[in-house]
């Protein structure tokens, strides 16, 4: 069985085929081959979402996994993140969940959250 992937490495968007012996064709560069093989063996994605907070002026704060996690675990990770609530000041890059689902990836904030003005948040580092 041949699997077809649209390469997302560059705007060219090659249609890359991988057969059962992992022979790659259709790619116009080496990066397309690496991409297709990864997609075939263990596709991974960075998960970006939000976490509930108790802060009135910011009911949601954005977060992401700091590494790509297996695609098959995206919904399980969402479930865990959706059970969290942030009730104290935290800063961009802070770890909220360590090693989520044993993937080796941490969930980190992508925005600072503090009950104060913009200025205090951004001069904190």
């Amino acid at each position: 069985m041949i699997k077809e992937y649209i390469c997302i490495v560059c705007p060219r968007g090659c249609r890359v085929n991988v057969d059962e012996n992992l022979n790659v064709s259709g790619n116009q560069c080496q990066r397309g081959k690496t991409y297709a093989l990864n997609e075939m063996k263990s596709p991974t994605r960075i998960l970006t979402t939000t976490i509930k907070t108790t802060f009135q002026d910011m009911p949601r704060v954005s977060c992401k996994t700091d590494k790509a996690i297996p695609k098959s675990l995206l919904f399980a990770a969402m479930k865990i993140i959706n059970q969290m609530t942030i009730d104290k000041s935290m800063y961009i890059g802070d770890i909220v969940i360590e090693n989520i689902l044993d993937t080796g990836a941490n969930v980190v904030l992508t925005k600072s959250i503090k009950e104060s003005t913009n200025e205090e948040i951004y001069f904190s580092d």
């Binding site: 939000t50 009911p59 925005k111």
Partner: protein, 419 residues
Amino acid sequence: MIDCIVIGGGAGGLAAAIEIKRLGHNVLLIEREDKLGGILNQCIHNGFGLEIFKEEYTGPEYADKYIKLFLREKINYLIDTTVIDLYKEEDIFIVKTSSETLGIREYKSKSICLSTGSYERTRGQISIPGDRPYGVITAGSAQRYINIDGYMTGKRVFILGSGDIGLIMARRMTLEGAKVLGVAEIMPYSNGLNRNIVQCLNDFDIPLYLSHTVTNIKADDSNHLKEIRVMKVDDSFNVIKDTEIDFQVDTLLLSVGLIPDIILLDQLDVEIDPLTKSVKVDQSNQTSIEGLFVCGNALQIHDLVDNVSKESQRTGKAIDLYLRNTNHSNKKISFIPGVNIAYLTPQYIDFSNPNEKVVVSFRPKKKIEKSLLKVIQNDRIVYEKKKMFLLPAEMETIELDILHFDENQPITLELEVIS
């Protein structure tokens, strides 16, 4: 007197304000929302900053980089403040603002940098027939509701238009537990970036219906969305009989294009470009009104924020030159979109400007695999370059040297298809 008032505190306004302040001028930035960062705050997905920082950031992270720089420059700014009036009296711009804390205020400035972004096309602008129920909203609004305000807009979703925001929202709503039944695109190809088709639709087995559109909308008794009808269209976008597919949905998201938001310029007699639906500018991004500059999505719709930052920084540099040079002569010639060009900016090239590099942005009219880009003046090819894999969904930029042109004849940009 303020040297420059920057209107809008998103990616464009921040980058422009930082540059103008660094070059020694006093700047006031005015933002309508209660936070700086603009639309980046709701774009929590990954993929920003690859060009500028060589790393993939989320929207809030990208904004944070610029907000930190902005605050370090100690630039004056107002948040929660709306500009309600903008006009020019002799050589001075008057900006009227309204806010809950300060009430109505008036500021005077030598120049204006308008970076107010864009707004989304709505149902009215594409005239979808049928009822007028709750549940039909633009993709960007839904994005704000979910990512900033924290509530879902529905459980069974259909998306009209394959613009990037629509694709991103297909994934976002799926991850949050909604069922996205499909995306319809009237064109025979997607309008979004290829990588978004893969990561947002294919990853979650969401079907993309090319050459399809929504032809009817039905409401239930309580005037909530109940059902939509999708039909195939032919090459001239006429609906083909007996191709109906009905979807039971509670939400229809519209991702059918962005339009530069230049409503503040209504009172000024600015020259408009029907192709960009924004103003005509020269290579400094100066409009036909002296001292009025426009950048970011207010000038043209970008697909990468990195390009907004670069364009706005350039505009900041140009504003510095404008403020330093008291003698503003005008020697403009037209720069015209020719064969296979959907639009281009700048629409004028100003030869009195000491800026010798002209950065040109354009989009092709259609998908072109191999082409020869030509800049022509007086039937003479002044500049020529091979371009591969051009798509309407992807903005292109080239740099031209002003010295190659004569100062009197219009210049044309065109794309010749080659095999």
